[in-house]
Symmetry: D2
Subunit: 212 residues, 4 copies
Amino acid sequence: MKKILITGFEPFGNDKINPALEAVRLIAGRKLNGGEISICQVPVVRYKSIAVVKQAIEEQKPYAVITVGQASGRSAITPERIAINVDDFRIPDNEGIQVIDEPVIEGGPDAYFTTLPIKAIVNAIQSKGIPAMLSNTAGTFVCNHLFYGIQHYLKDTNIRHGFVHIPLLPEQSVDGSQPTMKLEQIAEGLAIAAQAIIDNNEDIQEGAGTIC
Amino acid sequence: MKKILITGFEPFGNDKINPALEAVRLIAGRKLNGGEISICQVPVVRYKSIAVVKQAIEEQKPYAVITVGQASGRSAITPERIAINVDDFRIPDNEGIQVIDEPVIEGGPDAYFTTLPIKAIVNAIQSKGIPAMLSNTAGTFVCNHLFYGIQHYLKDTNIRHGFVHIPLLPEQSVDGSQPTMKLEQIAEGLAIAAQAIIDNNEDIQEGAGTIC
Amino acid sequence: MKKILITGFEPFGNDKINPALEAVRLIAGRKLNGGEISICQVPVVRYKSIAVVKQAIEEQKPYAVITVGQASGRSAITPERIAINVDDFRIPDNEGIQVIDEPVIEGGPDAYFTTLPIKAIVNAIQSKGIPAMLSNTAGTFVCNHLFYGIQHYLKDTNIRHGFVHIPLLPEQSVDGSQPTMKLEQIAEGLAIAAQAIIDNNEDIQEGAGTIC
Amino acid sequence: MKKILITGFEPFGNDKINPALEAVRLIAGRKLNGGEISICQVPVVRYKSIAVVKQAIEEQKPYAVITVGQASGRSAITPERIAINVDDFRIPDNEGIQVIDEPVIEGGPDAYFTTLPIKAIVNAIQSKGIPAMLSNTAGTFVCNHLFYGIQHYLKDTNIRHGFVHIPLLPEQSVDGSQPTMKLEQIAEGLAIAAQAIIDNNEDIQEGAGTIC
């Protein structure tokens, strides 16, 4: 039975909740076809976030890992294509750390592609009527930081990993200024993603490019 | 017991479903505090849409009326402030009618403000964690056409009426290009709006202006 | 020789300049084919704005009037279709006045359509390679206030009038967060609009509708 | 005297002109403080684009290189932070080639950071009142392809290189649906970028991060 570890960030900035954490809690222990979902709560803190997920990986020995964070302004569940080796924090993290253009891993390569079958994931989520879309940038805050750090940590293993951004919850944008998605739908989308990882050893061939 | 008539449009353009019709079906017969929701299905056709809602009003003798339509691109349930006396159809309606800058009602005034307590409605919906926002334009297609036609028809009565635009459903935008809202949340928002009408004989004083 | 009066607002909110005022200054006295442009500076103040433009109309006896204001977020020069009888100020005007849902003119009709040939104007501006688009809402701040007030004042005359929103200047959004237009292009667009008024006693038939 | 080579793409897709090519033509031969601008026209074709710029570099022996392309939807001049090793073409290039998820350089690293002082460039452009903004994704079409290819080619040299996306021209979006920038302003922004490269051997420390 393949364990899929899905991690969720704690709230940050001015937010009281983080849909990532709420969503993974909803699907903790969920049985998959040939697998099971386990979860882990992650602090929005430089390096500590990476350390916490590393420890969860060591303890839980998952088949694959999905790290998850919220993305204000997005209408869909968006698996990320690439993690980049830079921390350029527009706001401080939850311990007040704010850095400009420092590497995540000193001496690490400029970037790592995700090892998840992201197009199969997008496809699977969409086929259930849930908006999904590939993204080519995970930003330069703790989301990308964790994405890069775990991708680096797992690079010589066969544990696949990737980061998935999710929309705000309706209650986080009641004034209608940002697109939102219901918690149940986000959680369902993440469970579908976990199943798609089990079902696809290799990614499918499907165009999802952007002109710029 | 006050009957609130909520009408929903049929699908139009390239869409197979219309969230307006789906949502009102979900709340047909719903009991309110001091009232009840009744519904009516409306064709996306110039004048026929007005005729169908007029007939429903005559038969059902509602306390108030909410006409409802979908608005691609919006993240929230958006009560409309004003109906304008112009039909400027960017696409043909469901009977192939496409007109440019013709009045809805020949000789009618340029516009009618809604008679619904729209700020109380926005407030009530938001207080349940559902995105809502006032809108100052209902466009120039059949939505505005029906809004104006019914506002004109009811102008010398004490039946209050207004139009509410709702977002697309998730399954209408699985590629993530447009914001969406789950059907249950849309339906809940409309029921809250119906209750807010019963609860507010006059609108509340609350700023919701836009600079332009 | 037909005089076209084009008015421009003073800066408001946190802005140091207003592209409307800067643009009309650039074309003051500009000769048109069969006419000439005159201008007037308008304070961003409830009622005072209307009074100042009324006085300019009385003094200058123009053939037609274009009132102009800035619209953050728009990419194009946008002639407005309709002025509505409501002041709902999200921010205070330049004299600190902030009102909610009060009429511009007590007892006035809910709205006035512009009397300018707005589709001919959009067409003429676009034909010179300058982005232009019709708008169905002038907001609920001083722009709409002035638009409604002057439309009301001129309703029994044959002086045509309308409001045109213009984008921010590049120097107002150097961080790239909003679309902008160069001052010279805005000014040129307004001069083209003035000429289009002289050239079109009636508007052209051209679809420019929006679904919602 | 330091030669800055700025390259511009030919038109592609449905466009008749490409602002990148038009803009670089305007500043060909422009004298800088301690340098001079030279240019090169680039076909929107997989690999051929890289070959053409490589040859120009060999012939012109520039001090630094800016490759430039258009980005529909952007309001500002946007230097790119990173080039990624993937071609995922949503539309065919100008020779009909359309590939999905193939590497630009087989066996190359996943990505290269630009070697241009991009924050100094953004700063310098903004200080002249021209909108500029850092971007974290150059897409997955020929723009990113060329960016990656040249970054790879120059990796063991001291010739710095980066890609800059520019907005559409006003005449490319007369309907107002996309933000635009006047050709002269784009050209001026690119010349400022060239000067900023000469003036900054190292990039400045300035936050320009994005949350996601």
